[in-house]
Symmetry: D2
Subunit: 386 residues, 4 copies
């Protein structure tokens, strides 16, 4: 097996040197006044990134801890909930919602498509009893996005709460929590922010807090509890449990870098790398998985593998022979994903991904024109920066 | 406020330079073959530290996530459980057990004492219906330990399961999971191991897995689930959620250091620093909180504050004027805790703690003989190393 | 041998976590535009620290490379030079000056005293042919300082050039290059700046450049050459040889920290720690080496060892038994030096040094009152920060 | 200007994460017993790398400090010396040798050729008075190598000393100091070793020490002195000046990695990346600078720029638009150098260099077939690793 030279996986992605240095900076007591200041400042930076005045909760754990916590916090027994499914994360949320007692409604589309906002509006109009819509803004395994800029207002106008999984979305796609009226949003640090993989970023609107407060089954005195954070920390300055000092250092550092660069510039950087990658993949003669570029994520490009090729084999070949780590589709389809996420959403990183994937397919007997792919990708990059 | 020069808090404690470097090492994809190897090797190191052949589960989150997960996994509605309480963590476990449906039995002692193993034996003999004993091996807020070397066998002989909170114990006290027959043990990395504060180390016996498997209410498809780890990861090689690559790097590094030093040597180092600290505190004219040295923890020394002094004020003065971070008792009593935990369980660190606390009390008008304390502490240290 | 817990040596001293992170940050090409910017910005920060508008030269190597280079650059065959000797570094400069061809004049005092500025004035008036005065501002091995604030103007008024060794002085003592009319000043990064040990900081006045330019024997096309730096780098933007990118990162970081703190505040911090240390040493019953506190360095305290004790043995005992690294006098006398230099010029670090030295002397059979020393030191510290 | 994504310069090259962590590890006193052990262990590792039993001297400074020191140490007034010139570093050595008093003989070839060993043999036979041959084993600016495996024995058989500049050679080309009879060899850490740029590695044979000892003009009591290191450090355990603790940590780390990988494997890795790069450059339609692949360096590929293109402009375009740092020829010719040196001598790094250079030339109006270059390079890489 080759040494690992490049990680182009869809998260955890690589972190910048500054972020790594922050992760490795001295660990202090979590009640040290300097850490308390840093924790609060980090909340404010997250709010800035989310474009929100809502409360920010920083839970210790992979983002899924917050998705589970939020869903459990909101869902009451028998509550009518509409879940939008365009990939495996959306599908999984549906299983949870049902488990937690919801009366589940779903709009599901093939995993290379996106749920049209119009369908959401129609569905809500036809089912005015629905109280909550769950939506995945960035379906990382599919490499697709959802148009929450329209779904959010559709829900708000109808007085329906929203629970938004934007784990990989924030930092690589426009995301305006307050302008779009999103109630609970959950992001991870280890995706488009290029941060550490152990912390979940959550925003909670006043309406969501009200709903949670009224929900007897909302987790309390639990690791999954949003309420504990509200009451103990936001209300009382006491942590419900020890946060990871090192993760907070890492998170603060990657946020500083994004805010220094400018959130819009960071998003544009992802969008540019996605365009370079898509041009290269197509010119090699391969197909993209999403049905249209409109719904393709800016942080990761999903490539549909030709029939007869297996993503496990391909990824293993790419890693073993070329020292490049790509991602599979985690069940979304027979796809390979080249991420351009965080620090790898830049310059020639897509060339590395295209070359590795293309040459591996050639090695495996497939007809792929790698040179044409690289040429096309470079042409787009040159134009972008010209 | 002074700059922070010394962190002598009771966890998160400081990490060594090697551990910090590991925490800040490049982040890879969690399915990269090198990370998979590291993850499995880390499990084996934890098993070595716990002296067990049981399964090891490494959950992403502060140790409390595993305590909650384990308690929820074991407790059935109406299950008779005996909870041993000698401090705030034991007390909290009781609230949880009751919340999760247990028929709660408790043996409670003042928070500067320890539950005698004999009382446990008597109680179990009088209540043969009890199926589970919950015990805190190291009550960090009190700075006391529990004699699990005797409580474990007492339970095992009676066919009673044990749930052991040894969050700060492993690494600073003898801990023999298999020899003592302990079923579920939970440790944290950020205490006596000097590791990162975001990962929970759990060992689970076959008997415990059986009990969990039979428990319909055990968390499944949840961040709190031990079963998910068993079925997906241990059984299938798939992570139930993304572990923190950086935390695993940090954990592997601190375990390597302890195993290189020798677990017994690391424990002896804590025991020695505790003796130095206790000698110093007493010679200054202050009282220790635990009723006897037998039950005093090796990783932290609890000092009883004289009446009229408030721990918040004292700690603030120590931090503001002397740049030293000490811990409070987190509700266990009016105490100040000087930790000697991980890297600070060594040499002259206790002198720093003694000097800072002693001089602060003098500043606040109390009669304390700091010089005598330092002399006594140094005498013990010189003797230990002579 | 104990593990190393504390480095209280007189340079290299410990570096802060930020400085270490910078030292370990990615290495770039030395002609990368970002590095060129950083190099020039670092020169400006050094100028700010030196309080000068003179040219700054950053030579790659331990400070002595610049002292040798400067002396060779200035000294012509037969040139009358006055060398001030109050320690081993001053003595060594004399050997060099003579080797390089100077007609050597010296004022020498015992190594626990300082050359009085008045004597310099008198000597220069009596020897008007002298063209250069060499002076050590901070004689680190002795722990003494020279009053360059008065010696500088004395020389300038008489048209005599000055070559100032302030390797450990800058950052811990007032140092006003331009106000005092100092021509060539050489500092190291690894002393009071808490930086890396591989870079020399030099300021050169216009008058010094003139003298060097006229000196046929001044090193040219040599690693020792100041002129190369002037002509190639300052004049032409080309490095005479590859500078250490990592050292520059470390230097920039420690300068940023000092400038953020404020140079005066950093000096005051050293002065305060020196006072704490001296109070402690005296109260233990030991003698200070410098004849008066007026000439004691702020970055290191020299303790005269009682007859019959050997500094090698004492330091070995301190290191072996207590894990603390102290310095010897490097030939200046039978002394032990406790440094409070860079990050260790703060709070309770002096207590560690006092305790380690004092207890070691007790172990070796000497009568020392460590407790009284710690009490006295803490009293001074409490007063300083009260 | 784009952010810097890739440093493919010819040294300083990038360092691995482990090396960077070591560079940023805590700084200790240089006489701390642990540092003394590390320093001596590092000398032994260097000896292993050089394949020598000669003394090793580790001088603090860029490698040129040792080249100057060695030349000054060996050359006596009027000493006949043969200097082999095939590039700018060889040329510069000639200026030095003459400056230092040698009676200079030179064999010079165009800077894209190499001096044939036969010519050296003939020259020495014709000039039996010659006492020293200076040769550059790896002319980094030209990207060419010299056949020291034959030149060494030719000199040894004739009793002629050798001074070998292998600054970038060791680690990327076979180098057998003792087997080939090389007397003084100088390497840098920041080239093929992927180490820090502030330390020079020198091996000195007994014959060379003899010659130096007999040379009255050899530097003594100087930063340039090899003798100081022999007498003070190797002979007496005292450093002639403070070595950089951080550089030693970094050097030890990169040596550990190379020795773990195996020196031969590390060399093979460079050779492989050079072959990939050359195939790519040629297939793009560009010319290599060295007249034959036999003399092309394994650590860097020199590309001849077409007339009408200026290397400064090209490199600026590559850096500004594509975030890749390449090197110029430093005066050796109108060339651009793509390094594959240390960590970048691996996998797809050459693809990045080829793509960046090729596309930049296209942007500047030149006809280059980047796709064909990438295809050819990937074909070689696939074959190597197949």
């Amino acid at each position: 097996m080759s040494r690992l030279d490049f990680t182009l996986s869809a998260g955890p992605t690589v972190a910048s040197a500054q972020t790594l240095a922050a992760l490795g900076s001295p660990i202090t007591y979590h009640y040290d006044p300097e850490f308390l200041d840093l924790f609060r400042a980090t909340e404010r930076k997250v709010a800035q990134l989310f474009e929100t005045r809502n409360d920010i909760v920083l839970m210790q754990g992979e983002a899924i801890v917050a998705l589970e916590g939020a869903a459990r916090s909101l869902v009451r027994e028998g509550m009518p909930v509409l879940n939008l499914v365009q990939g495996v994360f959306g599908k999984g949320m549906g299983y949870w919602l049902r488990d937690f007692g919801a009366e589940l409604h779903e709009i599901e589309v093939p995993y290379n498509e996106a749920v049209a906002p119009e369908r959401v509006a129609e569905y809500l109009d036809a089912h005015p009893e629905i109280e909550l819509v769950a939506v995945v803004a960035s379906e990382t395994p599919s490499g697709t996005v959802s148009d929450v800029s329209r779904i959010g207002p559709i829900c708000r106008e109808r007085g329906v709460l929203t629970l938004v999984d934007t784990v990989s979305g924030v930092g690589s796609m426009e995301f305006r929590t307050d302008a779009w009226g999103l109630d609970i949003c959950v992001a991870g640090a280890q995706k488009s922010l290029g941060g550490p993989p152990g912390v979940a970023l959550v925003s909670v609107s006043a309406a969501a807090w009200d709903a949670i407060g009224r929900n007897e089954r909302a987790p309390r005195a639990s690791y999954l509890s949003l309420l504990d954070w509200k009451e103990k920390w936001l209300g009382g300055g006491a942590f419900p449990y020890t946060p990871s000092v090192s993760d907070m250092h890492g998170l603060a550092a990657c946020l500083d870098q994004i805010l220094d660069e400018g959130v819009d510039a960071a998003i544009a950087r992802h969008v540019a790398s996605a365009a370079v990658t898509r041009a290269g993949v197509r010119a090699m003669g391969l197909d993209l998985w999403p049905v249209s570029d409109d719904i393709a994520a800016a942080c990761v490009t999903s490539v549909a593998l030709p029939d007869g090729l297996d993503d496990v084999q391909v990824r293993k070949h790419v890693r073993d022979r070329y020292g490049v780590m790509l991602s599979s589709g985690q069940g979304a389809g027979n796809i390979i994903r080249i991420a351009h996420m965080g620090p790898t959403a830049s310059g020639l990183f897509p060339i590395v991904g295209i070359s590795a994937l293309g040459r591996a397919l050639m090695d495996m007997g497939w007809e792929v024109n790698v040179g044409a792919g690289v040429d096309a990708a470079l042409a787009v990059l040159s134009e972008q920066r010209g």
